[in-house]
């Protein structure tokens, strides 16, 4: 199996000197679906921001699809890693849905025809065709989440990284989103507190606490370990309790 993400000895602390990540070593392989879980402030979001080069640390190194994280490679890396932020209001900043979904492809300097095709395809993939001229402010939370995903799908990324994809969704829309994510056969990394959803979506789970990786293993096994989960401010999903 091909390694798509390789993180070695990554450390990072925020400008206020609070340590956010400490000695992170993580390999992710092509086609894997990996969940990252942990308490609030465990460093999950900081970690995924590194994968896209939004945050860059001097300590440790990151390789994405055999590319080192350097100024020269960063554009290419960003087009290969689709990062969906937690809050759709941050992800969708354009006056219309079309402009938001076409933002990535336009930055990739694709031809106008290709941009339109990618945009239409991405919206179709998330079952939101026909919303092109709507303003994102008037959409429901579930619709916003879908469009947010479309904004990165239009770049045709090899790795999809999602921060809290199921937060703020009602059960029906949450279920629809899970079905949607199941359809993708790409490398997916999901950060979430929604452990039940992770159980369905991710084969592998990385457990973080205070900036460090505590455990990395099969989702089902990891989440069944009651002591491990509770020591790290989590709890076993109901469906695994008996």
């Amino acid at each position: 199996m091909k390694k798509v993400i390789e993180i070695n000895d990554l450390c990072y602390s925020y400008p206020d000197e609070k340590i956010a990540l400490e000695n992170i070593n993580l390999d992710i392989f092509e086609g894997e679906s990996v969940g990252i879980v942990g308490a609030n402030g465990a460093g999950k979001t900081t970690l995924i921001l590194h994968i896209n080069g939004i945050i860059r640390s001097n300590n440790g190194n990151i390789k994405v699809i055999d590319m080192e994280m350097t100024d020269k490679n960063i554009r290419k890396i960003r087009s290969k890693v689709g990062l969906v932020f937690q809050n759709p209001e941050d992800q969708l900043f354009s006056p219309t849905v079309f402009e938001d979904v076409s933002f990535g492809p336009l930055n990739m300097k694709l031809s106008p025809d290709e941009v339109i095709k990618r945009t239409t395809d991405a919206l179709e993939m998330v079952e939101m065709s026909g919303f092109e001229n709507r303003s994102s402010h008037h959409l429901s939370e579930g619709e916003k989440k879908r469009i947010s995903i479309a904004t990165v799908l239009s770049m045709n990324p090899e790795i999809l990284v999602l921060d809290e994809p199921t937060s703020n969704l009602d059960p029906k829309h949450r279920r629809e989103l899970i079905h949607l994510l199941k359809k993708f056969n790409k490398t997916i990394i999901i950060v979430s507190h929604d452990l039940e959803a992770m159980l369905e979506l991710c084969d592998r789970t990385v457990l973080m606490n205070k900036g460090e990786i505590v455990k990395d293993g099969k989702t089902r096994e990891l989440m069944s370990d009651r002591k491990l989960m509770e020591d790290n401010y989590l709890e076993c999903p109901l469906s695994l309790k008996n």
């Binding site: 921001l49 896209n52 939004i54 554009r75 960003r78 087009s79 890693v81 990062l83 932020f85 809050n87 209001e89 941050d90 992800q91 969708l92 900043f93 354009s94 006056p95 219309t96 402009e99 076409s102 933002f103 990535g104 336009l106 930055n107 990739m108 300097k109 106008p112 941009v115 303003s135 994102s136 402010h137 008037h138 904004t151 990165v152 770049m155």
Partner: protein, 241 residues
Amino acid sequence: MKHDFLDKYSKLGSVIHKLDPRAKIITFLLFIIFVITTAPHDYLSFAAYAAVISIVVFLSKVPLSYVFKRVLVIIPFVLLVAIFLPFANKGPEGWTIFWNVMIKSFLAVLATIMLSSTTKFHKLLKGFELLKFPKIMIMMLAFMYRYVFILVDEAHRMERARDSRYFGGEYLRQIKIVCNIIGLLFIRAYERGERVYQSMSARGFDGNIITMNELKYVKSDMIFYIIFTGMILTIKIWSLF
């Protein structure tokens, strides 16, 4: 919460609505310039310009009550400035200038209201962009339009949170709390800006604003150009003799 105070009637489908935003921007701008450069005593021209813009208002099907409500929002500001003119200029001249300022601003405001209420905001921006308006300004306006509602919502929520724990009295302390809310709103907006920038960077944004040209002139735009410009040009030329 839903807000659409900026372009409330922009979704109607009248002839004026269907025009290319560029056609409206250029012709209405021309209209404003013509009105402003009209001689003070030329009341007939003013009446003619008023007739032209009334036709546009009529064709646009935007409710008259809405149009006048919008005008009423702006006129007090003009009045505030203009009211001193008769005192600054002694004799009947002062009043002439006063009426002039009022009539000209009324017509100009009417034209801008027509532009903004018959064009969806994003189309309006697109129009300005294609007319070579600086892209950075367009982007700022686009962000403003996108986030002003969210900020208003956020302010309302904070206000509600305060009210739910407010039991009256202590007037001075209330002012302090309002100031806190304003400060907090600023910080939240700032942080949101940072997150939005991150999400733009994640999609390959490197400071160059790239957009697509989606507007195309059609026959009706040309007809509008000819008729509208023709009418106001006739008024202008006629007034010169």
